[in-house]
């Protein structure tokens, strides 16, 4: 089956995931179309991060199916490199390579994994750093950058692989309030350019602004979902209402 862009770019069907005896995902299904921005919200421990980690095979699953561009992610014969070229991921703790400068962090994967031409990669990396508003920081090491700056390097590093989908795992949760904004602006720019984005986030205002669709998860299931216009005002499930009342 070949994937065409009128089909969901990412499709989860009845995904089950356990860590030992603890079942974290209890049958989660969702579809994401190309160019959509999806926000997943929910209380801590509800399985949000696990969910997006399963999408690029950082975690395995025990049941159900996850496809990216029609390709089953949890197929034992899966070419993980092919998957990871399509799916970029940004983490809460940035996870930059501390021994490489900002520029080298962005260049490393295209050079070593894709074996692209160095001059081209460097030009692209510089353009990406400019795009995330880090011009002049090319030679800085992660330890010399603020959290917000590091996170933007991490975004540029993922973008350097030209992914079709970007996963953001609570990328502003470890940041100071004043640097949260600079990262959110970067993500907003990306969304505006038509990048397919899946975000796990606690930034409700941001979710309301950029998301095409919001999913609320609790205890391993999707409790309810909808476009932000209706989701925040018309949430019907008591669990969603309780959660929203606590944070809004």
């Amino acid at each position: 089956m070949t994937w065409t862009s009128d089909q969901p770019i990412i499709s989860l069907k009845e995904v089950h995931k356990s860590f030992g005896d603890l079942e974290v995902l209890k049958g989660v299904s969702l579809d994401v179309m190309k160019g959509e921005v999806i926000c997943i919200i929910g209380p801590s421990g509800s399985g949000k991060s696990t969910l997006i980690r399963c999408i690029n095979a950082l975690n395995d699953i025990q049941g159900g199916s996850i496809t990216v561009e029609g390709q089953e992610v949890h197929d034992p014969d899966l070419d993980k490199l092919e998957l990871r070229k399509k799916v970029g991921m940004v983490f809460q703790q940035y996870n930059l390579f501390p021994h490489k400068t900002a520029l080298e962090n962005v260049m490393m994967a295209p050079l070593k994994v894709l074996r692209q031409n160095k001059a081209e990669v460097e030009a692209r990396a510089r353009a990406l750093l400019k795009k995330v508003r880090l011009e002049g920081k090319e030679g800085s090491y992660p330890g010399e950058l603020s959290g917000g700056q590091q996170q933007r390097v991490a975004i540029a590093r993922s973008l350097a692989m030209n992914p079709d989908v970007m996963l953001f795992d609570e990328v502003t949760a470890a940041l100071d309030p004043e640097t949260v904004k600079e990262v959110l602006v970067t993500i907003k720019d990306l969304a505006a350019e038509g990048m397919t984005c899946i975000l796990v986030t606690h930034e409700m205002g941001f979710a309301r602004e950029v998301a095409d669709h919001i999913y609320f998860t609790d205890r391993g299931v999707i409790v309810e979902h909808g476009p932000p216009a209706t989701f925040f005002s018309e949430a019907s499930d008591p669990r969603t209402q309780e959660f929203l009342s606590q944070i809004l």
């Binding site: 950082l58 996870n95 994967a109 894709l114 993922s158």
Partner: protein
Amino acid sequence: MEDFFRELAADAPRWNFIWMYDDRQQGKVLAGLWMTIKLSVLCLIFSVLIGLVGAWMQGARSAIVRAIVQGYIQFFRNTPPLVQLLFFYFALGQFTPVVTGEDGWTVEPIISNVGWAVISLSFFAGAFNVEIFRAGIEAVPESTVEASESLGFSRLQTYIYVVLPLAFRVCLPALNNNLVNLVKTTTQAYAIAVPELLYHSVSIWNDYPSAQYPTMLMLFFAYIILVAILVFGMSRWERSMKIPGYGT
């Protein structure tokens, strides 16, 4: 200079610095020193390589591979290096092929005593290096490894470009210690008649008992200098690898 030591030997019969004025004895000292340096450098290189490969194999999926590495470490770490040397040379040396010389009747083992010393000492120090590198590798955060994987790096690429450079920085002080020990342990190759510095020194004071004290002094002095050079080089290396803003 030569006359001074000649007179000193005449005036103080226990202080015969014979290798300061006798060319033949001086040649022995220099040849021994050169052999010690060669032995040390070769063992340093091989033991570090063994350490790197062993630490890589310790992370293998196969339980058999991990058990082999563990067995190797236990054997070489828990038995005396001198016994290992004797075993390699006298026991294993029996089974290695021999080559017949051009004259048609002399036979030479394919691995000389020097060869066995290099092999035996490299494996001895290598066992410690595996453990040292493993400690360094364990200090690299799992999240950094995940970031690398999510960018499409294979396990080997992640090891070479991300894990090792970071692990190296953590384990250099411990590696330093082990390599200092290795340089000193090369003296044990004396037992299988490897003509290194101790071997020649003993032969000098066997021939000239009056040269015993001076030669012993020279031995201490020589090893202090050799180790100082190694430590100097290692600390230069450590400084050059320091990352701005990372660690202490």
